[in-house]
């Protein structure tokens, strides 16, 4: 892990990886969307509204996955003092918030024709909304305490504390049996027909790759910021 503590070594790997992730992710997402919107069959009960699944599920997965990434990176930052972990955690916050927001938005658009309401106070929806607010709080905290290049440990502590919400979201459909359906894809198998499952899988992988590319881009931007700052300080000192 500490092999990549050196920013130069990290950048050497990150530079090509960004574009591999970005283009393959974009291709997969576009392919999955065309597949899902045109080729995959409509659902027997829900009709064409089922197609929003190909956006909704990946964004929900990444909205939660983003905070898990923040929490893991924060633990690495606090325990091993890894210099890039704090930067990685900060880089994951904005895309995580965007994906959580997209998940809420697409779910709301889907809920209008299916449940007959834009918003239902269901356990899963509410806990996802809380996660969105946690992202906003985290970003506000990071921005407020930003001495450039300084990755504050307070943000890391909040990242770990906020992770208590993740199991609540994950279990919410089991604990509060209200409107949102229980999980269809579990470790032991899937209750979704393979005609829907394959484009969904492609879309999840594609969005995940895009997420990775965005995080890498933001990390590179943060590292470049630190370099600029350091060079300006050297110039001012000279």
């Amino acid at each position: 892990m500490h092999r990549f503590a050196n920013p130069t070594r990290f950048l050497k790997l990150a530079r090509p990886l960004t574009w591999i992730c970005f283009w393959s992710g974009l291709a997969l997402v576009l392919g999955a969307c065309i597949w899902g919107l045109a080729a995959a069959p409509a659902d027997r009960l829900m009709g064409d509204t089922v197609r929003i699944l190909y956006i909704h599920v990946p964004t929900a997965w990444l909205g939660m996955g983003g905070w898990v990434a923040i929490a893991l990176a924060s633990i690495v930052q606090l325990v091993w003092r890894h210099p890039l972990a704090g930067i990685a955690a900060r880089a994951a916050a904005m895309p995580g918030a965007v994906f959580a927001g997209l998940c809420l938005l697409s779910g709301s658009i889907w809920g209008r024709p299916t449940w007959g309401a834009w918003w239902v106070w269901d356990g899963r929806l509410t806990s996802m909304l809380i996660l969105f607010f946690l992202y906003i709080g985290y970003i506000a905290l990071v921005n407020a305490s930003s001495e450039r290049g300084q990755t504050s440990r307070t943000a890391a502590i909040f990242g770990i504390v906020g992770a208590v919400n993740i199991p609540i979201i994950n279990r919410s459909v089991v604990w509060w049996e209200t409107v949102h359906q229980p999980p269809s894809i579990t470790l032991s198998g899937s209750s979704i027909d393979s005609a829907f499952l394959w484009p969904l899988l492609a879309s999840v992988i594609g969005f995940s790759l895009l997420f990775g590319a965005i995080v890498l881009m933001r990390m590179r931007a943060a590292l470049a910021d630190i370099r600029v700052e350091a060079r300006l300080q050297r110039l001012a000192a000279a």
Binding site: L78, T126, I130, L131, F133, L134, I136, G137, Y138, A140, L141, A144, S145, S152, R153, T154, I157, F158, I160, V161, G162, V164, N165, I168
Partner: protein, 212 residues
């Protein structure tokens, strides 16, 4: 400086700095605003007043955050304690205890007034008081934790950070007032206990991070 003297000092500061009365007056002000917003329908107020008082309690918990850790950090008081060999976690636990003493019991007294304002019946007022008595340690612990996290950055983000974390308390607390409330009170106690036990460690880590 002994633990008791530390608590006494915090209580004295809360007393002289207005930290004792302001959250309570704010709590009552929010409760009084509610009938203005929804109208003076006694039946509606009786049915929803308890939940409204829960929200008012959460908002009141936000108010003292600015003065919990930041002044002590700026004046160097926390550094002095650290130099004397105090563990940050111990200081955090004592600060939580002191904050609860200045926040919990007055809030419970004010809840009696609130229950009278909304004309809650005896059972509901009892459940409300019991729930708030269980929840206020968790709210105090969360307040101190968020205060330690935002001491350097300023309190702007504090509301966005505290309220999402306090939502489980609100769900089970307000849930215990409803018609099908079996199990809500034990769950509230479990959430409150968990938050109160974990908070000194998070707050202590945040206070240590302040010294970087």
């Amino acid at each position: 400086m002994s633990a008791l003297r530390l608590i006494a000092r915090d209580l004295r500061l809360a007393w002289t700095g207005g930290g004792l009365w302001l959250p309570i007056l704010f709590f009552l002000a929010v409760a009084i605003l509610y009938p203005f917003a929804v109208g003076p329908d006694a039946k509606l107020l009786r049915a929803t007043g308890g939940a409204m008082l829960w929200i008012a309690a959460l908002l009141a918990a936000l108010l003292p955050i600015e003065r919990l850790i930041r002044p002590d950090w700026e004046s160097g008081f926390l550094d002095q304690l650290a130099v004397r060999g105090w563990a940050d976690e111990a200081v955090a636990a004592l600060k939580i205890a002191a904050h609860w003493l200045s926040f919990g019991p007055p809030l419970l007294l004010a809840t009696l007034v609130g229950a009278a304002l909304f004309d809650l019946d005896g059972d509901m007022a009892g459940t409300l008081l019991g729930g708030l008595a269980i929840a206020t340690p968790a709210l105090a612990a969360l307040s101190v934790t968020i205060a330690a996290l935002t001491a350097r950055a300023g309190g702007g983000a504090a509301g966005l950070m505290l309220l999402p974390l306090a939502i489980p308390v609100l769900i089970f607390g307000a849930g215990s007032l409803g018609p099908n409330s079996v199990g809500a009170m034990p769950l509230l106690a479990a959430v409150s206990l968990g938050l109160t036990v974990l908070a000194p460690f998070a707050a202590g880590a945040a206070m240590r991070a302040l010294r970087d």
